[in-house]
């Protein structure tokens, strides 16, 4: 005798059950993912572009006489007007040119390096000769929240602004001072308490990557 209750006791039911359940949930997830994918992608791109713009904003503001904040809130128009993506072959990494009235005034590079727990990525703005940092933003990292994770914080990244980073194409040595102290020399940087390795990793990443960029550029120039 076949009836509905006995079917659920058959050995085939568990197999079918898991199959149906998987199909239903995987289906729902797939539809959800596909539906929200463009939105997620767009938001990631916008966040990225806004970061570039914020790094370039100060240099642009000093030339144009506009407020840096006004430039940032004027995204996407200001991004289109002032930022141009450079050919990736030139620097072997993503690079952007900050332009005012068509003439380049600064570069923004997408650099990567190793932190304490994993890789991290940052956007670095430099002067045209690559010798001076104009800004830093760590946009992807997997450091300890509350310790190394603080490399994203404003007080840490803003101290890089205006620091000499290269001497021709060799990186400048930095001296790390405790978080609570003031830096007195341009070669000093405040490190994060409890995150010595991560703080140093950020500095080394920028120095190494920029030295490489400078080197490749001088070789090309020859």
């Amino acid at each position: 005798m076949e009836n509905k209750t006995s079917f659920f006791d058959k050995p085939v039911w568990p197999v079918l059950f898991v199959l149906i359940l998987s199909l239903v949930f995987v289906g729902i997830l797939a539809v959800m993912y596909r539906a929200s994918e463009p939105r997620i992608k767009r938001q990631q791109r916008e966040a990225y572009e806004k970061t570039i713009l914020s790094l370039a904003a100060d240099s642009l503001a000093s030339l144009s006489g506009l407020q840096a904040q006004a430039l940032e809130s004027d995204y996407p128009t200001s991004f289109k007007n002032h930022i141009g993506a450079l050919d990736e072959d030139n620097f072997a990494r993503k690079a952007f040119e900050v332009k005012y009235d068509g003439t380049p005034i600064a570069y923004v590079f997408d650099v990567g390096g190793k932190g304490l727990w994993g890789t991290m990525r940052a956007l670095v703005a430099t002067s045209l000769d690559l010798q001076t940092l104009l800004g830093l933003n760590v946009y992807d990292q997997s450091e300890t929240p509350g310790l190394g994770g603080r490399i994203e914080e404003e007080w840490f990244t803003s101290q890089f602004k205006g620091k000499p980073i290269l001497d021709n194409s060799s990186p400048i040595e930095f001296e790390m001072v405790p978080e609570g102290q003031k830096e007195i020399k341009p070669q000093q940087l405040r490190q994060i308490t409890g995150a010595t390795i991560t703080s140093k990793a950020v500095v080394d990443m920028i120095r190494g990557e920029l030295a490489q960029i400078a080197k490749s550029r001088t070789e090309e120039g020859k």
């Binding site: 059950f17 898991v18 997830l29 997620i40 509350g146």
Partner: protein, 197 residues
């Protein structure tokens, strides 16, 4: 049990952390900032309530031999849904949470409530039980992170509470303090409310 009793039972009397000692891993990991704790607690509560509902709805048809696979699958699906929704509509929060969202899947509280309650009880009761357990968990996270953030950073939810005279206790930010505080909490609660006869 009435529904109110179910809630009180799963949130306080049988609290997942201080009574069942479940979810310890995440209680140690995410409690150095109150905001992280709150978002983590909300994520767990949301995923748990929905998983409880689903598991309870299909409990009559679930073969015993594959029930755990089914529960894990349902949990994982809801956690991924939370992740996608956060990424699409609250990118800021999603960035804050980072790896924690995925970790909800491995939280023992979910599996525990699904197996112990939702697989044997009607849907509405199960949802209430899930919300209760999530609430109890969030409460513990907030209690621990309150102490850790206050002494470790001098702030609460990112707002400065203690003035600049305050010297941050680095130990509170690091993992050991979570062990001390969690143990202290479990000790106090058990001493006060659960007398071993």
């Amino acid at each position: 049990m009435t529904r109110k009793q179910i809630f009180i039972n799963s949130a306080f009397t049988e609290n997942a952390v201080w009574k069942q000692i479940l979810g310890i891993c995440s209680s140690l990991a995410v409690t150095n900032l109150m905001l992280n704790s709150l978002i983590m607690g909300m994520g767990v509560t949301f995923a748990l309530a929905l998983s409880c509902l689903t598991v309870s709805l299909i409990r009559e048809y679930t073969p015993r031999s594959v029930r755990m696979i089914a529960q894990t699958l349902i949990m994982a699906a809801y956690v991924i849904m939370v992740d996608i929704l956060l990424k699409a509509f609250l990118p800021q929060v999603s960035k804050q949470l980072g790896p924690y969202v995925g970790l909800i899947i491995t939280n023992c509280i979910l599996m525990g409530r699904l197996e112990a309650f939702a697989s044997k009880n009607p849907p509405l009761d199960s949802v209430i039980d899930g919300i209760g357990a999530g609430f109890g968990y969030t409460l513990v996270l907030l209690l621990i992170s309150f102490v850790r953030e206050l002494f470790g950073f001098g702030t609460l939810f990112g707002f400065r509470i203690l003035g600049s005279w305050w010297t941050n206790w680095s130990i509170m930010v690091m993992a050991p303090s979570a062990f001390f505080l969690l143990a202290l909490l479990i000790w106090i609660v058990n001493n006060k409310y659960y007398k071993v006869v």
